[in-house]
Structures are given as C-alpha cells and as structure tokens.
C-alpha cells in the first residue's frame, strides 16, 4: 500500500495530476470510504485494503467536471465500469490518470459479522498487497481470526478476471479468487417452478426500502435524472406503497442497465437490506450471452451493446 501511496504522491508532486481519487480509512478498520485527495498532505489517511470495495469509476463523472487531471485507483473489475462510462461519453479519458491496482478480493463485513463477531474495533491483515490470508479481528468482546478468503464478497468468488481493461500503470498483483460459477445461482432459480420463483423474489424484494442505494452506487445507472425520479413516464416513486413498485423498479433498473452492466456487484454490496440484486443483472447477462453471443460490457470501448444491435435470426420473445 505504501508503494501505491508514494506513487500517487509522486504523480501529484510532478503535476501529472491535480488530485487523486482513492479510499480513506474509517473508524473501525472496515469502513473505508471513497475520497478525493486534493493535496499530498491528505494522503496520510489513504488506505487500500480489502474493505475498499467501492467502485470509484462513477466518481469520475464528478472528477471530470473539475480542473485538471485526476488520478483514479481502479481494481480490475472497476475498469470495466470505467470503460463503459467512457463508451457512454460520461467521462473523458484525458481527465483521468488510471492506476490499475492489484486486488486479492474485496471483503464482506456482514460475512465477518455473521460469524458472531461483534464490537469490532480494528481489523488487521486486510491489506491488499500482503500475501497473508489471515484477518485478525479485535473486538470489545475478545479477538478473532478468520481466513481472508472466507470473508470475500460474493462478487469476488466469481471474479471476472485479474486483468485491468484500461490503465496508465499497474501497481500490485491480483490474486485468483474464483471459487464459484457466476451463473450457478441464476440456474438454480431458473429451475424453480413459477410459483417458487415468485415467492423467492417476493420475499427478497419485500425487504426493499427504496433507498436507491443500488441505483446510486451503480456505475451504469448514471442518468442525470432517473426515470423513477422524473415525471417522464408518470412513474416517479419514493417509496413502495405496494408490492408492485419494487418489482417495477428493479425490473426496469435491470433492463435499463442490460448490456451495460459490468456485473461489478456494487448493487448487492451496498444494499442495506442484503437483497441479492445482482441476481437480476446477471440473469440478463446470462441471457445475452446465450442468445446474442458472449458479451462483457466494458471489456472495451467499441463493441456495440447487445440491446442497440440485432441480427436477422435472433430468438423470438417467449421462445427461449
């Protein structure tokens, strides 16, 4: 991490960029937050550890409105979102200096807490660049240890890959964290009966409090004003008054990002109600791959989105 910090400092001192976009340490060792570093002094609080799950690419939209260049730290999966934003003209390449940072998987604090670990005051061993696979968790109620690999976010268990799709330089190594098939959960749901599917999603979605965290964290949901906030479709919603609205919201949200979603998993990560929202997006990804050929949004800036292209012999609706 120190290497990364030093390099950012150097780049800022050399005036390659005017600020840096990274992560800042929080109160308990697990609540790192996204942060702009406007001066080298501020870099003291810079961290890069397993709890730096936040995908910074969406913050680049704001960064592009500022004077000068911004150093942005992107994990391999974040670069897909960056590309996608570039493709949609929401950010400008020349405004960013991309440091591709190595990643050994991002951590899920709720997974740690699910082990009955409470009163956490500090966590050691979460550094991204250490090869240690042990989290030492200090709590008010005593100390705990947990394997790093056992506390990964679901998204990291089916990681898209260690390659950065776009970068100016790369710092740090990335580790292989894949331990599950990306579409396994989807296939399981597909095999349920219609009513079972309905019950499953009703249960999950009934938890939705319409806080919009999923939408606001999502790099693909980058509309200046969401349809659910505007009156364009007479569809402005603030809260779920009926079980219909959350369905509408999540279906349409998934549809709007279909072919653009990079499966970065931020939606599920940020959901305060732990709704597995990626199940929607991944279903579309799976269908798109099956019907229109393998497609990975954000793997480059050129390829046309499957929903804005077609072929003469596409599958017929309802016939798959």
């Amino acid at each position: 991490m120190q290497e990364l910090k030093n390099r950012i400092k150097q780049l800022m001192e050399e005036n390659v960029a005017q600020r840096a976009l990274g992560w800042k340490k929080g109160e308990f060792g697990y609540d790192a937050q996204a942060a702009f570093f406007e001066s080298t002094d501020e870099l003291d609080d810079f961290v890069y550890n397993g709890f730096c799950g936040a995908n910074l690419s969406k913050y680049m939209i704001e960064a592009c409105k500022k004077e000068g260049r911004t150093i942005i730290c992107l994990k391999p999966c974040d670069t897909y979102s960056f590309n996608q934003l570039l493709k949609e003209h929401r950010i400008q390449r020349e405004k960013a200096y991309i440091i591709g940072v190595g990643c050994k998987g991002t951590l899920d604090i709720s997974k740690i807490k699910a082990n009955g670990i409470e009163g956490i005051v500090d966590i050691e061993g979460a550094d991204m660049f250490s090869s240690e696979n042990l989290l030492k968790i200090k709590t008010v109620y005593g100390d705990h240890e947990l394997a790093y690999s056992d506390a990964l976010l679901e998204r990291c268990n089916c990681c898209k890959g260690k390659e950065h799709m776009i970068f100016d330089e790369i710092i740090g190594e990335s580790a292989d964290t894949v331990s599950a098939d990306r579409f396994e959960q989807i296939e399981k749901i597909e095999q349920l009966t219609s009513i079972e599917k309905f019950e499953f999603f009703r249960n999950e979605l009934s938890k939705c409090i319409r806080c919009n965290a999923c939408r606001n964290a999502c790099p693909a949901c980058n509309c200046r004003k969401c349809v659910f906030d505007s009156d364009k479709f007479d569809s402005a919603q603030k809260a779920n008054s009926d079980s219909f609205e959350e369905k509408m919201f999540h279906i349409i949200r998934a549809f709007h990002v279909a072919g653009r979603c990079t499966d970065c998993g931020e939606c599920s990560r940020v959901c305060p109600q732990n709704i597995p929202l990626h199940l929607f997006n991944r279903k579309f990804i799976k269908d798109i791959n099956m019907l229109y050929g393998d497609f990975s949004a954000g793997s480059n800036c050129e390829e046309n989105c499957p929903l804005t292209s077609y072929s003469f012999d596409d599958a017929e609706p309802g016939k798959i």
């Binding site: 609540d31 936040a54 009163g119 249960n203 009934s206 809260a239 008054s241």
Partner: protein, 340 residues
C-alpha cells in the same frame, strides 16, 4: 420484577398475539426487521439492531391518507380509518424508544398527526436492554442508557431467563394479563446485568462521542464551514441513512391513480434526494452538498434549536452500519471536532 424461562417465550408470544397484534424482530429472507408475530415467525431477540428501525410501526414508510373518486361530476372522499386496535411492540431498544419520543415532538405537537397518534395510543411498548452493544452504537453520547429500561415495560435477557417490569399503566396491564406465565424475580439479577452492560458501553469506541460543539444556536458557526464541501463528496445521494434512521420524520404526499379512484398517500422522503422539497420554482437546495448539510444540520442544530436542545439523533448507529459509502453522522461530528 418478573421472569420467565427463555424457552417459554414462545408461549408468551402466542398468548399476547391471541389478544392483540404483536410486533417483534423477525428474520425473513436473511434480514431482521420488526414484523407481525405468527407461529411460523423466526423471532430474533438476540439480534441487537433490526435493519430498519421500528419507527414504521408508528410512522409507516407509506400510508394512505384518503381516497377519492369522481362520479357524475362530483368528487366523493373516502377517509382512511385510523388504527383502533391495540398492539404490542416487543423488544424495542432504548435508542429506538428515545427516537419515538423525538417523533412525538414532531407529530404530537399541534397540529397533531392523527394517524401517528392513533398508533401511539394503541401501542404497548416493551423495551429490551442491549446485552451486547456494538461498535457502531453511540447512544450514551445522547444520554441514553441502554442498560436501563424505557417504554411501557422494561425487559432484560439474563442467562436462561427473560425479566421484565412495568413502567406505565399500559405496562401494568400487559404484565397482569400475562402474569400466569411468569414467576417472581430478584431485582439484583437485573442490577448486576445492567452493570455489566454499562461496563461494555464504556469500552465502545463511539460511546464517548462529544457533542459540545453542537446544539442550539450553532447555525452561523457551522453552516458556511468549508468542511461540508469535503465531507459530502463520497455521498451517493441514496436514502439509506434516512430510511434506517429511527428519528427521520420527513415525508412526501403523493397521489396514486388507481383505476376509477385516486389514492392520496404519504411516504417517507429523504433530504438526500434531489427532489426533496421540490417546489414549482425548483429546489431550495440545488447541490448534494447542501442536501448533505441539511441532514446533519437538522439533526444536530436546527432540531435542538426548536426543541430545547434535544438532538434528533439517538445514536442507534444504523447509519454507521448501513451507509453504502461509509459516511455517517459520527464522521461528520468528528471532522468538525478535528477542525476545532
């Protein structure tokens, strides 16, 4: 002071729920929230904090105010019935109960919110002391003692037993109704448990949060601080903090076209949203910084200004746990402390 073995709680719940609706922390789809008890419910009294606060038992996320219909050129209005059945809320934490008292200041002062009042009047609240507070708790900063009971009935879980005692008339009534299930208990057991809890509280990192720089009359000092410009930046503008908060009380009123009729309902609003307090001319607060500032200024300055110095926060720490960008009121308070 009465007690009952934990394995007989189910009997207690069944008994209470026979007479009136019973709400308590229930696990469903991997999430724990206050819900209505039934035999299949997975009760989780062991969990410190529900995802959402129990405020929506009194101030639901959305509720119909009335519906109206036009027929032959005339509009008829059908009012929404008020809550008129008694119900019991079981296992509320002290911070959440304290939050209700804050909501009372808003909804029970003139003009009284009849929907809210009806629910408050009909509720019997059983609070449960926090056996194991968490690192995100900072209730003590607001003078709340999570070891001590509050509400109509105070309760503790100590070892194999559930203890409770009544604080109000409503509480006495509940205890009387269920007396046959309980045995007498020793106050001393409870006192030692309280002491234990207070010991833990002393060790929790945020409990000692200092609020001396906040409160009445701080508007001028805080409002134009350049710190806001830095603090808000990671904010995603989602409504998580406001929706999990037990004290946030803002709502919007909307109409829903339901076929032939129109339903007027209110629903929680969030000051984090760009269309919060949107009016015909536009919005008072045009930037996320302003909206972000509004939330914390309201909780820590404006509300105390209007309510004898009472903060509109009880330190439940849900925003600390849930904020997707790991921002929260504690970070704001500390940032200003550091500056000062």
């Amino acid at each position: 002071m009465k007690k009952i073995n934990l394995n007989k709680l189910k009997e207690l719940f069944a008994y209470i729920s026979e007479k009136s609706s019973l709400f308590l922390p229930i696990e469903s789809a991997n999430s724990i929230n206050f819900g209505m008890y039934d035999e299949k419910a997975k009760v989780r009294l062991d969990v410190l904090k529900t995802s959402k606060s129990p405020k929506d038992l009194f101030f639901p996320q959305s509720e119909t105010l009335y519906s109206c219909q036009s027929a032959k050129g005339k509009i008829s209005i059908e009012p929404q019935a008020l809550q008129n059945d008694e119900f019991v809320v079981f296992g509320m934490k002290n911070c959440d109960f304290a939050a209700l008292e804050i909501l009372d200041k808003v909804f029970l002062s003139e003009p009284v919110d009849t929907f809210y009042k009806a629910r408050r009047d009909n509720a019997t609240i059983v609070t449960l002391a926090c056996a194991r507070p968490s690192e995100s708790c900072f209730c003590k900063a607001y003078g709340i003692d999570c070891a001590q009971g509050a509400g109509d009935v105070s309760a503790w879980i100590i070892g194999e037993y559930f203890y409770w005692c009544a604080n109000t008339q409503k509480g006495v009534a509940l205890l009387e109704k269920t007396a046959h299930l309980f045995e007498d208990a020793d106050e001393a057991d409870v006192e030692s448990a309280k002491a234990q809890i207070r010991d833990i509280v002393a060790k929790m990192p945020l409990m000692s949060l200092d609020l001396k720089n906040w409160g009445k009359g701080k508007t001028a000092e805080k409002f134009d601080s350049p710190l806001w410009d830095e603090l808000y930046k990671p904010c995603l503008a989602c409504g998580t903090c406001t929706f999990v908060c037990p004290t946030c009380q803002c709502y919007d009123i909307k109409d829903y076209k339901a076929g032939e009729k129109v339903v007027r309902y209110r629903c929680w609003d969030s000051c984090m949203y760009s269309d919060f307090t949107m009016m015909a001319h536009g919005n008072n607060r045009t930037s996320q910084m302003q909206r972000f500032r509004q939330r914390f200024m309201h909780k820590l300055v404006y509300f105390p200004d209007n309510n004898d110095g009472v903060f509109s926060c009880t330190g439940c720490g849900r925003c600390v746990d849930k904020c997707p960008a790991s921002l929260n009121i504690v970070k704001v308070i500390k940032a200003f402390d550091k500056e000062a």
